[in-house]
Amino acid sequence: MSGLIFNLFIFVLASFVGFELISKVPPTLHTPLMSGANAISGITIIGALIVAGQTGDEWAQIIGFLAIVFATINVVGGFMVTDRMLEMFKKKD
């Protein structure tokens, strides 16, 4: 099985998991869910680390640096603001 096909299997199966996980979320949580999922999409930071950490081509490193800045804004900001929202969700005591 070629790498691409194997990766496609993973991609499709993970999409199914995503559909299953999200379709049961109540409307109450849609805003935090959107911002939390958005933070997770910053996972591309891992690719950015690899591009910025390789030596050889200075331009690639600079592009990688920019990618890290962008992705970190997404990740750090996304998780923090989601936490800020969810912190406010309280049950009646």
Partner: protein
């Protein structure tokens, strides 16, 4: 960082890294699952953040990573900006912030693919499939980047919220889209031709702008949700490019989540996704409660009421339901509302909040705004839960909401909102609408509810009227 490790460990390192990625993936899935219930959501988000941290730390041990200057600088700068924005944002501006973060995420994926492409002196060593995923990553990432920032501009009012269209726009955009996919294919055959690469990049950036401009300001949340899905896809494509399963899986999870949310939003507005994207519907001139439009031109009469009267009716009711809309948040009246509810509960009145799924500026936004005012989430009821209860309700307070309680959605087939699921407030014994004037909501249609015999209008700014109401209830003791 791998050279710090003993040599035995170094040979096993690639496998160890992959196994840790597997653990991080599991944590993500578990975290998203916990995000599904209010009681566990916060820990779910924190778990997901932990998964991300583990993924980042273990990647630093990757043998391909040799220099850390750019990495450290990038993380410091990005964290500072991200943390600043997250701390500073007003809860009413959540849609804008999500748009901005989303734009950066998509942009990062495009940059990763660009960096990979640039790093290799001879791109012909890439396989055809790597080149296709590189092209797709750039295409989707760049569309997400510019599209999200246009959405941000529209939400913020920097760019007109009205749909900006020109004749043949949909055809033009369709041709550009097809053309960009063609370029992705061409790049795979001719990777040394940088003109193709740059044309693709440019068209993708341009396409993000062109596809969001014709969409009305009120539909921006749907667009952001869809772009969120794109940024997941872009991350997944970047995962294909660098051969990383963690990226592929997490990206796919986000892609699926974004699609489902987009779909839910369209359903709650009774619109198809196609209609949202290509229908050029609605401007930003609506937004009820916030602006003082001219009173509707009509002979029909409404019943006006006063704070004292509302206080009396609510105090002697067994059951009161409050249906808030974004007008409440515009007037910054959530805290006063909470005060009114507390007073009523002290008098033994059963008070619930009925929340329409699209109340606020994005789905679930009203819940966040009320949570900020310390309203406990178990007092908030979704539309499906609350609708059967209106029949047995004495008083419904409609505050800053309009279209989501308009019975025309059920009765008037010609109405633009016909078929949209609404809160059945008209079934209650009494409705009291808090509103500035009789101006229509963003859909621009009159609301029959206002003229019903069972309805009373309490005119004024939401904050002022609620303050008067709170005082009036207090004076009854």
């Amino acid at each position: 960082m791998s050279h710090f490790l003993p040599s035995g460990l170094q040979t096993m390192l690639p496998n160890i890294i992959q196994l840790v990625y597997l653990i991080a993936t599991g944590i993500f899935i578990f975290g998203i699952k916990r995000l599904g219930s209010p009681a566990t959501a916060r820990s779910g988000n924190q778990l997901a953040a932990l998964g991300m941290l583990i993924g980042i730390v273990v990647t630093l041990f990757d043998q391909q990573i040799l220099s850390f200057e750019y990495i450290i600088a990038g993380i410091v700068v990005g964290s500072a900006i991200g943390a600043f924005l997250a701390k500073k944002v007003e809860m009413t501006s959540m849609p804008e912030l999500v748009a901005v973060f989303n734009g950066f995420g998509g942009g990062a994926s495009a940059l990763v693919a660009w960096g990979e492409f640039t790093r290799v002196a001879d791109p012909t060593i890439f396989s055809g499939q790597d080149l296709v995923t590189t092209g797709l990553s750039i295409l989707i990432g760049a569309i997400t980047f510019t599209g999200s920032f246009v959405a941000f501009g529209k939400l913020k009012g920097f760019i007109s919220g009205n749909p900006l269209t020109f004749p043949g726009q949909n055809v033009f955009n369709a041709l550009l889209s097809i053309g960009s996919f063609g370029l992705v294919g061409w790049l795979a055959f001719d990777p040394t031709n940088l003109i193709i690469f740059w044309t693709l990049f440019g068209i993708a950036l341009f396409l993000g702008i062109l596809t969001v401009l014709p969409i009305g300001g009120a539909d921006m949340p749907v667009v952001i949700s869809l772009l969120n899905s794109y940024s997941g896809l872009a991350a997944s494509m970047a995962g294909f490019v660098i051969g990383n399963n963690l990226l592929i899986i997490s990206g796919a999870l986000v892609g699926a989540a974004g699609l489902i949310l987009t779909n839910i939003m369209c359903e709650s507005m009774n619109r198809s996704l196609g209609n949202v994207l290509f229908g050029a519907f609605g401007g930003d001139n609506g937004g009820d409660g916030g602006n003082t439009g001219p009173a509707a031109d009509t002979d029909k009469t409404v019943h006006k009421t006063t704070a004292q009267d509302v206080a009396l009716q609510c105090s002697y009711a067994d059951k009161v339901i409050i249906t808030p809309g974004y007008g409440l948040a515009v007037a910054q009246a959530q805290h006063v509302l909470k005060e009114v509810v507390d007073k009523l509960e002290k008098k033994g009145v059963n008070v619930k909040y009925g929340i329409h799924p699209v109340a606020g500026r994005m789905p679930g936004h009203m819940n966040v705004l009320l949570a900020e005012a310390d309203v406990p989430y178990d007092q908030l009821y979704d539309m499906e839960q609350i609708n059967p209860e209106f029949k047995s309700t004495d008083v419904v307070l409609v505050i800053g909401a309009n279209d989501v309680v308009n019975p025309a959605a059920k009765t008037e087939e010609g109405s633009p909102i016909y078929g949209m699921p609404i809160l059945d407030v008209d079934e209650a014994k009494r409705t009291i609408v808090f509103k500035r004037s009789l101006s229509p909501g963003f859909a621009g249609i009159d609301n029959e509810l206002f003229y019903e015999d069972s309805n009373q209008m309490f005119f004024g700014d939401a904050k002022d009227t609620l303050q008067d109401l709170s005082q009036a209830i207090g004076e009854m003791d």
